[in-house]
């Protein structure tokens, strides 16, 4: 935290910390989030700054990402400078609010930071590429490559949002969010958080027929941002050796003070060019250095809207332009498809290389780019010796004092007499039951789904042959388990739900949730269960009353209808260590 709050000069920051610094330099007034790796440190840093009374902004951990975004929308409508942070799947949850927010536009400038996780290092459900929201939501998206850009791009995003009254997304990936590097700082500017909501039904109410006018206005905004910002901004520029971005402050300033790179001798002699963005840019430069190649690179800071004219100029004509262009990007070829589309009219003969050589699956690495560059330029490379080893891996597991050991051991015991029990998993530390208890779960999908999917299975199989036990953590229960549980009651399911109540959001770094505030109980899960008039429920400490836990599970399995056990014992890693 000390580094984030340093007055000026240079310091080392994690990408996520640099996001926070960028927001502080821009004078952020309202921040909301739901924790999720690899975005968690953004909220945690804001939280820590407030805890030590060194900030004047509002911050909250919201119950889920949709509500976090809605809180942010309210703050923006009340003219506050707002930042909302989440991981990629959070944006799916929030998308219902995101699309109309792009229609209404912002009052206070708003930046939405979203972190993707190529290779799924800390993500279970899919290898999501949030760039797709550019097309779905018509929202500008910026892609920083390193912590310096994380900080600078947040500033640019606020400026664009302020000028064009549109939320702007800053998209990170794990290798950007969790990259530590030297960052040149500017002054923090604190602006008091006094919002005011001024009635403007024309802007804030998305009812037809107005909603279609809003869409027209939104598309016009994107077009304006493309022409006035994306085409001119230093964020999209041709470079090989990294240029100093820090000397610039205004987002629409041109590249190299009016110097046109495409007219340079170096560029005109090159028949090959590279278009890239985000972390892929760093891998590209690294590859060029490894191969001692000097090839012009168009680095795009804006993923949306793309600087189409700049790209066309870079590709050139069939006569004077490039013969080959490489589009180097991680995951799906969103950028490559756009380059293909633009090349059709400008330089149809150009050869486009990209996903025909690079995988759409898993994170990109320098090691993947080097052979492709060598092939295209005819450079010879030494082949890495293939090392044949079968390395030992430590799979993640429950901590040694974790209460979940007892929960899953207990359930195994309680279910020995049944053959076909279906175990439904959810998102959180208890996913590791799969590594600790021999592929424990029968299905596992997204936040809150253990209950919803379990209900569907119960209805489909009539609950006759197979019993269903769903597991959900406390934070996940609040996040999106509650509507699913209400649905079970409403539609009369036969299901046993185990709520793993360790009184903290453990997996993502011990953030609070609605059940716990300042270390004290707040909303009690049992009160929610009672309100739903579920008859078979019990709150049990699986460590103190292990046998009761097993017996209750056995008993509830024989009952009809919805049963709930709240397995309640504090997270050892958080509370045990604190003692």
């Amino acid at each position: 935290m000390e580094n984030i709050l340093r007055k000026t000069g240079k310091t080392i920051l994690l990408g996520n910390e640099a996001i926070v610094r960028g927001a502080l330099e821009s004078g952020v007034q309202f921040v909301s989030t739901y924790p999720g790796t690899p975005a968690s440190e953004i909220g945690d840093s804001f939280s820590n700054i407030l805890k030590s009374k060194k900030g004047d902004f509002y911050f909250e951990y919201s119950v889920n990402e949709k509500v976090a975004l809605e809180a942010g929308i309210g703050a923006s409508f009340s003219n506050l400078k707002t930042l909302v942070a989440m991981k990629n799947f959070g944006l799916n949850v929030a998308s219902d609010s995101l699309l109309p927010f792009c229609y209404t536009g912002t009052q206070g400038p708003t930046v939405i930071v979203v972190a993707d996780d190529p290779s799924c290092y800390s993500s279970a459900q899919s290898e999501e590429n949030s760039r797709a929201f550019a097309q779905l939501a018509h929202m500008p998206i910026l892609e920083p490559a390193d912590p310096q850009e994380c900080k600078d791009f947040v500033g640019v995003a606020f400026q664009v949002s302020q000028k064009y009254k549109i939320p702007v997304m800053v998209r990170l990936t794990t290798r950007v969010a969790h990259q530590r590097a030297v960052v040149q700082l500017k002054k923090i500017s604190a602006i008091k958080k006094e919002g005011i909501f001024i009635e403007n039904k024309n802007q804030f109410v998305t009812m037809p027929p107005r909603v279609l006018e809003m869409k027209k206005e939104l598309l016009a905004k994107i077009d304006k941002i493309k022409n006035e910002v994306s085409e001119k901004s230093f964020l999209n520029k041709i470079q090989n050796q990294r240029s100093k971005l820090n000397s610039k402050t205004e987002f629409s300033q041109g590249e190299n003070e009016g110097e046109d790179e495409t007219k340079s001798h170096r560029f005109q002699n090159s028949k090959v060019g590279i278009i890239t963005s985000g972390i892929s840019y760093l891998y590209t430069i690294e590859s060029l250095k490894e191969l001692s190649l000097d090839i012009p690179v168009l680095k795009l800071g804006f993923f949306h809207p793309l600087p189409e004219e700049k790209i066309k100029k870079f590709i050139g004509s069939p006569v004077t332009g490039l013969k080959k262009v490489l589009v180097i990007e991680e995951l799906e070829p969103y950028l490559e498809r756009e380059v293909e589309r633009l090349a059709k009219n400008t330089n149809p003969k150009i050869q486009i290389f990209g996903k025909n050589y690079l995988s759409e699956i898993g994170e990109l690495k320098t090691e993947n780019i080097i052979p492709l560059l060598a092939k295209i330029t005819g450079k010879k490379i030494k082949k890495n010796k293939n090392i044949e080893i079968d390395p030992i891996k430590h799979l993640p597991r429950f901590c040694s004092g974790c209460p979940y050991w007892n929960v899953f051991n207990g359930i195994k015991k309680a279910t020995t007499k049944y053959k076909n029990i279906i175990f439904g998993g959810d998102i959180g530390c208890y996913m590791m039951a799969a590594t600790c208890f021999d592929s424990f779960y029968d299905y596992l999908s997204c936040m809150g789904s253990s209950i919803g999917i379990g209900h569907g299975i119960a209805k489909a199989t009539n609950g006759k042959k197979q019993k269903i036990i769903s597991f959900i953590g406390d934070s996940t229960f609040f996040h999106s388990g509650i509507p699913a549980l209400i649905n079970c009651v409403h539609n009369e399911s036969d299901i046993l739900l185990i709520i793993l109540d360790n009184q903290i959001t453990a997996m993502t770094g011990h953030q609070p949730h609605p059940g716990i505030k300042n270390g004290k109980p707040r909303i009690k899960i049992e009160n929610i269960i009672k309100a739903l008039e579920i008859k078979n429920w019990k709150k049990i400490d699986p460590l103190k009353n292990y046998n009761d836990f097993i017996k209750t599970a056995e008993k509830f399995l024989d009952q009809k209808g919805v049963s709930v056990i709240i397995a309640s014992h504090p997270c050892w890693l958080y509370y045990g260590k604190k003692k």
Binding site: I12, L14, T37, P38, S40, E41, Y121, S122, D146, T174, R175, H178, Q179, R180, A181, V182, R242, L282, Y283, I285, E286, K289, E290, K365, T366, E367, N384, I387, I389, D390, P391, I392, K393, H394, L395, P396, R397, F398, C399, C429, M432, T435, C436, M507, T508, G509, L573
Partner: protein, 192 residues
Amino acid sequence: MVRKNKNFNIIVAGVGGQGLISLAKIIAESAFSSGYDIKTSELHGLSQRGGSVKINIRFGQKIYSPLVLKGKADLIIVLESQETLSNIYFSSAKTNFLINNEQTPTLGKTISEKKLVKEMKIFSNNFELVSAGETCQKELKTSAPTGIFLLSLALQKKLLPLSEKSILKAIKKILPKKYWEVNLKAFELSKK
């Protein structure tokens, strides 16, 4: 000193909970205060849950990618010996390994020390198994500063082009004050 146009690449490996991120932050801070550009890449989330962890640290005149290329590591520090083999592909014949001779249980396959040494000999002549954790436990009643013990050892053996002064300063900058004493003791302990 790191030669011009040459970067120094380190992999720190082990299992979650061993203080790997703190160790990487200390090395990065020390290199930064010595005038180098630095970058690291970490993975969070599962890092406290006993899973395999590897951290990339790079410093030099100008660093682009935060990731160490295959075969380009100068130094590989391993805090849990079984994790050594999964980092072999970062190494070349020139790479030095410092390995804490300590194991934590896995949920699957394991490897004995004898077999590990045998396999390592196929790839490298520059590796050393050190009873870092054991020595810390014995002398300091805690194995928490094992990483600092190995870091100090790397300095003594001239495997890391950073000054003792800058490392000591970085320890004080990165770690909370209450951990200074035990870590500085571990730093001295490796000199014996």
